[in-house]
Symmetry: C4
């Protein structure tokens, strides 16, 4: 567990007001150490709360354990209450409510999706103290399950998923309609074949539909199974159809996902590329071509990005953070705008030094397969990279000559 002092320490580094800090941290969009610590803590509290709620629904636990679980639930609810109050207070900082009065901005936030989820998460704190609810420990537990909705803020790519499903909704709906037609047809057919032998399981259409769903999704509980030859033939067709439906859905989502991911990555790269001088000197059209070839990678501190003597297939541009090049004599540090790993692409040599991040670092990766394609279109970029590479190699050689007899 982090001490509160350390938890907020990252906040002071930025230069804006306290309320804006709190807002940025609570929106989970803050990338300072303080923001990251809050995210970890939030996830931990959420997990603890959910676990306690789930366990408290088990009957016959010792009273002590029951008391303990209840204490955890109340504690978590109090934290979420505090979070809700803080978020409500800081809501006017949101750019979405820019230009509105503070009260108006708060009301709007309270009625937005995150606001309502926050309110739902707070309710158990009050409900659990009510006698009527408390009597049925089960009900209390279920109440807390609303906390699961808070988990959604920890899924950064949820937007991509939602957009893919939204873009492909017409096709997905068609697959679902095929699914329903197969379902109803199969249930009716099996109902005919099996109702004589198994009136309990296949005697009515709703009962037969249950079997059809369980079979078409290839779940196959086995609680209801056809016994006649006709029923088994229908069943076989339904199972194979289930595989086809799954394949169709996968095909649709894979296609949509590939397109959406390409667009998202393009925007992510564009946000980073403007921090690297070697790119910003290029014109917009040239730049847009490079952007589609770069990939963004976020690394934690002390991460080994490249390792000495390993073969390399990419070069890196630093758009945020800092790395340490572990050269034989003394380490060199490269900051924002620097680049490294170019020798692997220019001369197909193994990495000449191990390179490690010193802080959370965002790198733009350019792979060998794209480097040469760019090389033929934008010779100026390659020239700049080559010039810097030549300078470094000379420096290395000069250093090696001086340090002759030292480490290899």
């Amino acid at each position: 567990m982090q001490s509160p002092a350390r938890l907020w320490s990252g906040v002071a580094a930025t230069g804006s007001t306290f309320r804006a800090h709190i807002h940025a941290i609570l929106r989970h969009s803050d990338n300072t150490p303080g923001g990251r610590r809050w995210r970890s803590l939030h996830l931990f509290i959420l997990g603890a709360g959910l676990l306690a709620a789930a366990l408290s629904s088990v009957d016959g636990l010792p009273t002590l354990v029951d008391r303990l679980l209840e204490a955890v639930i109340v504690l978590v609810a109090v934290v979420f209450l505090a979070e809700y109050a803080l978020h409500l207070w800081a809501a006017p900082e949101s750019p979405r409510y820019g230009g509105l009065s503070d009260a108006n901005a708060r009301l709007r936030w309270a009625l937005s999706a995150p606001g309502l989820i926050g309110l739902l998460a707070v309710l158990p704190a009050f409900a659990i103290t009510t006698t009527a609810v408390k009597a049925d420990s089960d009900l209390a537990a279920v109440f807390c399950i609303l906390w699961i909705l808070k988990l959604s803020v920890h899924a950064p790519a949820m937007g991509t998923l939602a957009r893919v499903i939204s873009n492909e909704r017409a096709t997905l709906a068609s697959v679902l309609i095929v699914f329903v037609i197969v379902l109803v047809a199969a249930a009716t057919a099996t109902h005919f074949f099996e109702r004589g032998g198994q009136p309990q399981e296949f005697g009515s259409l709703p009962a037969a539909l249950w079997w059809a769903v369980v079979t078409l999704t290839t779940t196959g509980y086995g609680d209801v199974v056809p016994h006649t030859v006709g029923g088994r033939m229908v069943g076989s067709v339904v199972m194979v159809s289930g595989i086809l439906v799954l394949a169709l859905m996968t095909g649709i989502l894979a296609t949509g996902f590939a397109e959406e991911e390409r667009r998202r990555e393009y925007l992510r790269v564009w946000d980073q590329v403007v921090k690297v001088p070697i790119f910003t000197e290029l014109g917009t059209v040239t730049l847009s071509e490079i952007v589609s070839k770069l990939r963004v990678r976020h690394y934690p501190p002390r991460f080994v990005v490249v390792r000495r003597d390993e073969p390399g297939d990419s070069m890196f541009f630093i758009s945020d953070g800092e790395v340490e090049v572990r050269l034989p004599r003394e380490p060199v540090r490269l900051g924002q705008g620097g680049f490294f790993g170019e020798m692997a692409l220019l001369d197909r040599l193994p990495r000449s030094a191990t390179i490690v991040t010193t802080q959370p670092t965002t790198l733009l990766v350019l792979y060998a397969s794209d480097f040469y394609e760019i090389a033929s279109h934008i010779p100026s970029l390659v020239a700049a990279v080559e010039k810097e590479a030549r300078r470094r190699r000379q420096e290395n050689e000069a250093g090696a000559a001086t340090a002759a007899g030292g480490a290899d």
Copy 2:
């Protein structure tokens, strides 16, 4: 439920004959409010009819409920009878039967797929009043299940799915043949291993085949399970093969789907692009390149397309409908042929205003990742967009200067 008066209100807006209106609406291809209302109503009636039919097959319901369900079924059947009669009457309006006499066109429609499905859906209306059928409430229910076929008209992308499966039929057939070979081989092998211990379950090849189907599709009811070491080894191989078969089918359909979807989208965009003057001024070759980069999106009324201060990754061209730009002073409306959101691409700024549709609107979306690629090929388009953008910005600034002190 809509009143009939409102239901048909959208029809009067178009300028052609009454029979043509009815035909367009019944074919579910009409995009006027009247057409959309009919589609929703049709889906609701269909759902009610199917539910009533399914429930009426449950034994031991109170007589009152049974009577009620029967009433719903008869009502739905009457609606479908009316729909069938109307469609038959309006059939000569179909361009497919252009040049034929009315009687001939109606006969042809009656024999086409939608005509036959319509007839099948009407039959229960008569059958259910027959004593022989009525005696067995089950049979009546099953009869109504034919209505499920009407659901297929609500699946707009059914054509895409059918074409993908048709294009890939040779490869899918090969996977199915592999499937059958594995099935028969596995059933035979397990039959050998298990027939001693489980003569009931594995004593004959057809019985063993049932186990093999249930296993190869990874459904796994568990009603028949191998007990010998040999049988379990065969079973393990069959399960892994099942995963491979599913993966192969998905691979085939995903590949085919990506290609077909690209073609469909191209045609959809082409149909819309001709309504936007900024595009129609371009030559066919240039236009065909842009068409492959645009995406069609349909939005309902009062849909927030872009939100103020959010980052943007796309610009929009209006090919149908109207949007309202919520500017600080007074909202501005943009109609067919207009475009918005270009500042996000030109200057990488967040959205400067919230934009909402005022009616069902079709937009052509151009994403940032494609904008710059087009920019380098077709400078004239970008110049036109930039000119309009400059005009708007000046207007905004002039307005902001006048309204200084007002809302931000």
Copy 3:
């Protein structure tokens, strides 16, 4: 069932020797009516034989049915014996054994995969008459199951599947090794948790492995289920891993399949494109670009390729066969090298006539999305298409003027 006279009628049409005909037909590569009839008949005989073999393994059938099934099996075996003998006799016609003596070619074929499968399929004919085998009707049935191998000749895309799996074998093997590691780890962990409570089901590692396979493939028979909390947690992880393994395999095969399919289609188009004069006039480099845009489609006789007044998204080139254009006055026939449907691409008009194949026809399809891309690179092709289109339109208009007052 076809009469033998009709069955062979298509053979006489081609101009080579009788033995070569037989060989082409038996190899299932012959596309004449005779060849297609033989393929259908072969599939029917194969199906009948397999069905009879499977049913004869059921115990307690009436003697008459048993006799009948046996008769079918013997009959099918005799047909396969005749096929084997004919194939052996015609083997020297294979280009693969060109230059070898007849006897040598036959020996080589007998030792090749199709030869050995053919021999295996013939064996039951002799085995079934042996008393020892006959006593156990089961054994006889199983013997006939070897016929399933003959099914593989009916899977035209088997080669594509095999090549995809072969190309991706290193990656697939890695997924399988991950699969095995998860399997063994899960079995060991559950063995620890469950062996106390369920010594029968989880008491030894091999028994626990059976549970792990059934769970990791998400088959889930339910014959062995963990009851402890630890066992269920391991089980949950195994199920989710199963989904991941399936997703990985699908991803690998989808990627490989897309690449292989592109190559195969390229070769298929190339084989057809040389029959169309409008293409063969182009240089090799230009041609190779068009080839990658065309798609091959095979149609049976009397198939409606395009329907009057429907919107069109493609044009067609006839590389084999013939179509009938159903023009208002009199139908026109287009043979090899002809093309149609170009107006849909040039003027975005609906189809002006229904077009139906008169015999098995192979068409090259060019979709709208590719047409304009080609148009900008190869103006000569588009010019040729446009010239022909203009000629046709004039003809149509002239005809319409003459036939004024007739059918529209």
Copy 4:
């Protein structure tokens, strides 16, 4: 089994020190015959050890079998001990520890992942002789299961898989969070519906969660099944969600895999292309374009690469090894840098000769679909290929004229 003499024979062929040989072989990166033999032997020993360990956990085996299995386990453990010792001794040869003292390099290796896995695999050798462990044969068996980790060295594409999962981790995590939300919501809902009727199975949330996991992964053991209408409706939604989750995961991994595979193949080709003079004469930019079109294929000795008279769709460049062209008169051998199969691309002719590898051979394959694209960009390469082809054809014709009357 190989004799030790043969096993090491391939080692002498390379020109470096003995310790370096041992190191290369133990790292499984050695492609000499010695290295390949060691890999096969290692896999065989590993399999034998795992099998013996698994079987020894079965109760009630005869004492003799138990003794035998124990002997195998000890033997395998001894081999792994020897491997560990050798690897520790040879560790300083690793380029990763270049510049460190021998002792330091060994320590580092011992603490690396392969070092620790090696140590874990050795431990059973000592543990099994301890009385405490030996008493519980089960425990001994489980101990040996650690050997499964050694299997990972046999999965060459493990790195690709790991990188795909790492690149897509944000999206995969979001899908997993959706998975957890659906899971908890479904468990809670079913808990409500079913706890009355099935207090044992659905009475607490953890119990309901077990059902939800089994259902959402479509495993469907059937040990816990909802009986109420509400529970079954929730169950149906969960099963369909399960299919969607699987489809989403597959879509994500398929997209990521396609991109990663393209990059890996590019590097693999680049490593081979430098060995073929016809390519190295080209400039870097031209070369980089060709590299993206070539594919690397490894073949074992005596593999038939192309077969006479079969249609061809590719040409081959030899980057390693040797092939034999089986010409009618006398076979010709082609070594590193040679190419063949070009006539299939230039003249669309069937293969003129069967070509077989004489040793493990690496070929670069250029498919027809890519050949013409390259042809239009790099005429010099095609000219070189055509010149050689013309030379060969003349030689063939001259030979055929001389050998007239011989084999065709």
